[in-house]
Symmetry: D2
Subunit: 380 residues, 4 copies
């Protein structure tokens, strides 16, 4: 492999420049610290969670529910629910409660289809990390199914998020999200009535969580049509946190926006994050965008919430609101031009197999999970 | 003060919940580590930079140039250039070169206008951090001119960014940015011809760096008109990094997007960050969004660059491209509803004094600076 | 449990003060980052190693050898070699080589003796962490066999250390250690001839690695005699690193001494760390202690090495030398006074079962392992 | 300079191997985070403290007192008190109280004697960091008076420690220390009666804080005699923390021992750290060393305290006790052999000027300061 790579670098010239940079990127957080590991087609994937308070009785049902939200929804609305990943808590729990020591969760890769991955050894799937991983790791990365770069790694993150959520709920903090758009079909954004526990619960239980049910059919048929052409769709997700008191967060480098965006952009396929009105706020006048403040019933509120509940990096007591952009599933069966980076030649590629025509519904619980992890990390 | 605050929490109820959370947020980076300090109307602002390679001969002219880019441009295009902040390097330099020990830069607050800040003690300026800082720090924060939350803190960041840029340039890495929109007036985005050293240099030297010069007049008159009504505007900035080899960055928590967004959202007024096509990619088909790959002249390239030069968190050799949304300047002279948080009553507020009607041109060099810092931190 | 604990805090008064402090302590390192997990009598123990360069072909024999050094030697020299722990690499390896992604190693707790641990639920073994863990985790900790505090957790650390060693050896850096004392019987310290690869190899292979073989019998019979009285012994270990170039390390907070001591004191039972002449240097004159410098054969050397190869936190090219103090095994069968912290009463305790009368020989490879990890972390 | 260095590396061979490793070592802490900067003979030295709770009214007298303890005591007991360093708080304070934003303290280097430092450019003072700094920073380090490696950098640390102490005292936590030995003259160690607020206060106020006053004369005359021969002495310091509840600290990597030793070894001249009985515990039997536990007056105590108040890295409610070894002042006027590393030749060196014949009394308040910082960091 190494010889081949040397040849490659000879050809590609600049790509070897920083090869000695080692990847140390599997750990996130200060107070609720997570470390992920694993590959799509290796033995297992998993997570170590350090900083869980001791004495928490895990809500298995909730964890199962969150895991199944991530695993079940694919592009096909007709596909029956898949079973959620079988998780095994191997450390950090005793007599059914957290011990305070690191919790480790293992998810075995049981249903990896045995097939020939030799193609993936050298063909870069466009939109995937095949080529960049090859360069970064000098060709030693596990390329099967994307290896460590696989979206499967979000499963243990959802597990950690379920625990974080459970702890937040006890403190009166709730997280909800909805599909804000599928391709070009855009639903409305959260209004103030939507941001309450009841509404969040309803969304969490929905197969296809949108605000205007009338769009459901249109969105799903768009997904079906796209799938039938061998193509894929992206979309947007809007997420909100309620119950967070004013005063959480920090100025500058540990602002709520900095902390949240850092973990949101860790989710594969996320290419944009905006808080409050986000990019639209750049088109407003200051007098519109400023969110006038008032006291009502002894509580401080703002008339609008274009700043997404955050001023100067710190929560102001209004709901935290943000949106993320999810790119279309990169795995498509349509033919694409790409390269064979070992043979160093241009090739054409069609990716066969069952792929989600849209991953937005499955990314949604991951967005909620990382939000729970980040908020808990900030308040612990 | 404390008594008053206790009364306040009695009234506001939930806001005291997390008061014991202490702010530790002044330091960013692993290999090129910066620590900022200071208040708008205190003695000084400044920065400690740890991790500068030894033996770097500082390019004073470049630093002066970058500092003046940040300080000179306001909403008023007619306003003459203000002098850049007087910076003093007090440690880390010897015989005109960096020593490798921490470099400390102090910027004295010389021209703070002596006036009565008693109003700011209790009146929350909408869109500012006055109320959230009050809650976070139990009322002990320096409220004069926004204190530690002031945009002035970006001056030392630009200083550090200038050094980072200088080091990057020697490695063939260049950063450029342009004003992508002012209010609702939108310029085009970077095309592949724009992303070259010559074009970046031209933009850096421009008073008002836009791509389509024809929009200049329209944008400036929009700014003038808005100012005359006592209101303000926001806008978007697009930024690009060229010359970065493939293989920089990491999967998941230290992805280029995670690292960059974490520091970009540290800049006051930034409410959105998107990479490549960003939110628009969510409306594309996979076959469009995937950026087909090819080899040309022994180099790996992509036909389009909707992923902004990043796959799986790692650079692919194409230009890194991203956009940020800047909210309208929160300080406006138009009357706004807000609260007196000590008297606990609703009040009306007009903010007098000279304010930038738009801060987009001044935020632009800050965006470049933090980008330089983040990229250098990733490759050191 | 919680009720009981509340009663306890009622009685013990001050102990609940910082209960909300959460433990986040399982991760160490910046560039070669390890995260440990597990409990003595839970499902498994293990480690995640983030930052291993890709393409390293693991030297299984070396890993097995290091693991067996830790597991085999007990206080009883007569006891036959136990089999080393069965380790399973579940992530981060592909085609026999490291991928650059996090490596996860699992060691199943197969031979945990099934017995009644109810006693340990409330009886604090003196010298152990039973009482402090109870307080720290509000009684939710896994108390069986010390739980997460068990010395067993050093097994995965030795695994990581073996990989670090392998990488260091390729860079010409070697680590060696010897038993410097058992109880009051003290061997001599390393002299300059001892600090070479050949000598280190010999020590590593020795059952009972001491410098003066003549002390072997005396030490072993001291161990046997102590064991027969139901008591235990401690000792000292001296460790050295050769081949490290001058210029490694940092001033102040990341000095070699700071970094090494931080991980050395993570090993259970270590109560002292000293570099070079250590505590003895405090009794010298400056003219003795200063290690005069000279050039010989174009190399910079010092006549003595009382500073242990470190000046100002940075290596000077001479061997790094340090000693650690290991306390006597806390598990003894002799009767001891202690408390039942649930019943809140004084009790007497004899700990039955097979215990190492001295753990110094087993701690020795752990000391080498953390040294390898720390040195690699500093030079990567 | 660079050419010379290249020649040097040509000669010295291996020393350039890791030159690209950059020093990032100026920041310590998680919750009470300090960043130090400055050089002995540059403009100034100073510190940024991030994480001070807001609303703390600084006890100027206490800060002045702590600073003067560090600055006044030299080897010469006859020398009158020097004035403490003139410190200037330039950020983080408002209306006499901490704001919660980073506090920056600047100490100008006013009394640097103007003299010729050209000698120090190339002559390595034995026992100092001159040679290692030269190699680490490729010769660009500020060599005047040790530059960034100077013991002067401990002055701002004492400042931060004074604030930490003030906060700890309000929580009932007190820190005390005594000179445990000067050269070979050893005082007794703390007994249980010594470890109380009254005794700590008395020690803090003492010119020469020892337990057995009878040793005073002997120690001082030893210092005088050594000084008169142009030589220097080291010594030991014992330090204790009382009032710390059980349950503070963590297992493994964030054990109290790990955290404390990491910052203690950051103090220049410290070559050994031991907790409780330290190295002596290695000579005890388990039955002695285990610290039997009992309940008395509803409090949990141990009969002895050989573990220094720490089990499994966590406080057990007994006093934390530890000792550090301070090496003899490296600056001596006696002639020493050393090298000129630019000329690459062996030379002889006598260091003239006023030097402390012993720095133990001045290191003592620094030991207390870093202890306060570390303990506060662990409980915030």
């Amino acid at each position: 492999m190494h010889n081949v790579f040397l040849n490659l670098t000879h050809i590609f010239g600049r790509i070897i420049k920083y090869l000695e940079v080692i990847s140390v990127s599997a750990t996130w957080g200060k107070n609720f610290k997570i470390t992920i590991f694993g590959e799509s087609h290796g033995e297992c994937i998993g997570i170590v969670i350090d900083g869980i308070p001791s004495g928490v009785e895990l809500d298995d049902e909730m964890i199962f529910f969150e895991m199944s939200r991530r695993s079940s929804k694919g592009g096909s609305m007709s596909t029956g629910r898949r079973e959620p990943d079988r998780t095994e808590i191997v450390t950090g729990i005793f007599n059914g409660k957290t011990t305070g020591a690191p919790m480790t969760v293992i998810i075995k890769n049981t249903d990896k289809i045995s097939r020939d991955y030799d193609m993936m050894k050298s063909i870069a799937r466009p939109g995937h990390a095949d080529f960049t991983a090859f360069v970064k790791y000098s060709g030693f990365n596990d390329y099967r199914g994307g290896g460590h770069f696989s979206g499967r790694l979000t499963a243990p993150i959802v597990f950690a998020g379920a625990i974080a959520k459970q702890i937040l709920i006890k403190r009166g903090i709730f997280i909800g999200a909805h599909i804000n758009s599928i391709g070009k079909i855009e639903d409305r954004r959260f209004n103030s009535e939507d941001m309450c526990k009841a509404s969040f619960d309803k969304l969490a239980k929905a197969d296809f969580p949108i605000l205007r049910e009338s769009l459901r059919e249109e969105m799903i048929s768009e997904i079906e049509n796209t799938r039938s052409t061998g193509d894929s769709l992206g979309g947007m997700i809007e997420c909100s946190v309620i119950g967070l008191s004013a005063g959480v967060g920090n100025p500058f480098f540990e602002s709520i926006e900095s902390v949240l965006s850092s973990i949101l952009f860790s989710i594969p396929s996320i290419k944009g994050v905006e808080f409050g009105a986000g990019f639209d706020i750049s088109k407003m006048l200051g007098s519109e965008a400023n969110d006038e403040i008032f006291i009502e019933d002894e509580a401080v509120k703002t008339k609008t919430n274009y700043n997404g509940g955050i001023n100067g990096g710190i929560s102001n007591g209004m709901p935290i609101v943000f949106r993320v952009a999810v790119k279309p599933t990169p795995s498509i069966s349509k033919a694409q031009s790409t390269i064979d980076f070992l043979k160093k030649e241009n090739v054409e590629l069609s990716i066969n197999g069952r792929h989600d025509a849209v991953i937005v519904p499955r990314v949604l619980p991951v967005v909620e999970a990382v939000t729970a992890i980040a908020i808990l990390d900030m308040i612990l």
